[in-house]
Amino acid sequence: MCTSESAGPAVEVRGLSKRFGRHLAVDDLTLTVAPGVVFGLIGPNGAGKTTTLRMLLDVIRPTAGVVRVLGQDPRRVGPALRRRIGYVPGDLRLDGRVTGRRLLAFYAGVSGGVRSGEADALAERLGVELDRPVRTLSKGNRQKLGLVQAFWHRPELLVLDEPTSGLDPLLQREFLALVREARDAGQTVLLSSHVLSELQQVADEIVVLAHGRVVAEGDVASLRLSTVRHVQVGLGDTSVEAVQAALAPIGTLREVDVREQGGAVRVSATADGEIDPLVKALARFRVLDLSAQEPDLEESVLRLYGQEGTGG
């Protein structure tokens, strides 16, 4: 049940636009998701990710353009198509006095195709109690229920909109394992995120959205997004001058700040491009601590591809 019936793309979107009043949320978007891959959709908040994914489910309707999901038009096929899709909404809100089990039973009753025991197996794996009222669950636990109802019928296509929001890092790992297993079983996964590192670990292909348009696409390595880092270093047994002298030749550093603080020299800088020269330069000092943080995605998208960028 997990194999696509044709060799065509799992998702095909051409010239897709969505306008809300005067705001153009998705602007002439074209993308193709091959079957059996994990496809990442990344972009800052407001880039049009959620709007795009909602149009695949026929929750909202395009202003213009063509959408084909598993070879079919979501608008025309409706329920029969959605049965083959597992969906986690970006703004998943569950409430009510019903238990997780009852909530899930409703969706199983709507869509069918769920093996008995699957809910418990997934719930145990993710660590969520099914017999507690939904309204007493934390945000993370509700998110887990969302994952259970998306994965448990092993749909051909998974559409997951920021599915890890609210999950702790251990569970994010478990989630990524679920995604890999789904891919290995032949399912297609369309995954949106505003956290690049999450997609780097699992996506075969990534599209970067900004302002409702594709600003970059390709495999993870070619996107250069991860090459902007905020670096914080603490160095011992040295002086501000010595550190400044060592860092000066490195052309990829910007916003360098070196200062004496609490008997150590603290360096704060933004590294563009290769990290290697910086590490080599730091190696001659005694390194007390080091952190290289992935920057805000919005920042890197805008810096690397520009507001109106179209390249990739």
């Binding site: 703004d91 069918g112 197996a121």
Partner: protein, 271 residues
Amino acid sequence: MAEGVVATPRRLPVLRRALAESWRAVVAWAVGILAVLALYLPLFPSIGSNGEMQSIIDSLPPQLVSTLGYDDIGTGAGYTEATFLGLMGFVLLTIAGISWGASAIGGAQESGRLELDLAHAVGRVSYALEQALALVVRLAALGAFAGLVILALNGPSELDLTVGGVVWACVALVGLTLASATAALAGGAASGRRVVGVGTGAAVAVVGYLANALAQQGDTFAWLRPFSPYAWAFDSPPLTDPDPASIGLLWLLAAVFAAAAAELLRRRDVG
């Protein structure tokens, strides 16, 4: 991984869920109906039928009397209609129906449930119609319960009602309140907001009630009567002289609102 039975889709899942989630509320409303009936109907022998009440009524301005529907309060049927069917029962079932109707789609969208529901294998039209059906079932249950209580009190309270009359009266009451409830459903379906649903349903109920009250005042406003669902239900007293055509009109109106809800939900974006 347990390899077990594969669940097959169930029939009318949205209807089933709506009923499962609201049976407590239905019971609570039934208790309210029971309390009102048990309070009013047993008073009839001491108030309504001894002529004293009628003489008080006769001393009131006739416009007020007809607005309250107290013209015929000296009979069991007139008393039951004036105190329960046209007043407290109407109010209770209207409030219950509007709150269910407004929550079913408008409230569901506000709570975030609608998006997830509609992302599953359920069509918009069946979603709205199953919600409408849930309104029918709940209001019919309350109407039937009210009818049974009225029949139980019929003898002890010396109301002298016929079974057929009570059945028609309940069909009229349920149809009337169902019209407001489905209007609330349509308001919520159009806007995705509960408050719009409540406003739409309340408008249908209140405007219908006022149009009838004005029409009772004489010839000036008599032309309003055909536009008042309340008048369709009670202009010809259902307990003694039911008019199947005008009662049927109430149910037809409810069906039109339900169809409107389905069409409005079908054609718009959710969320």
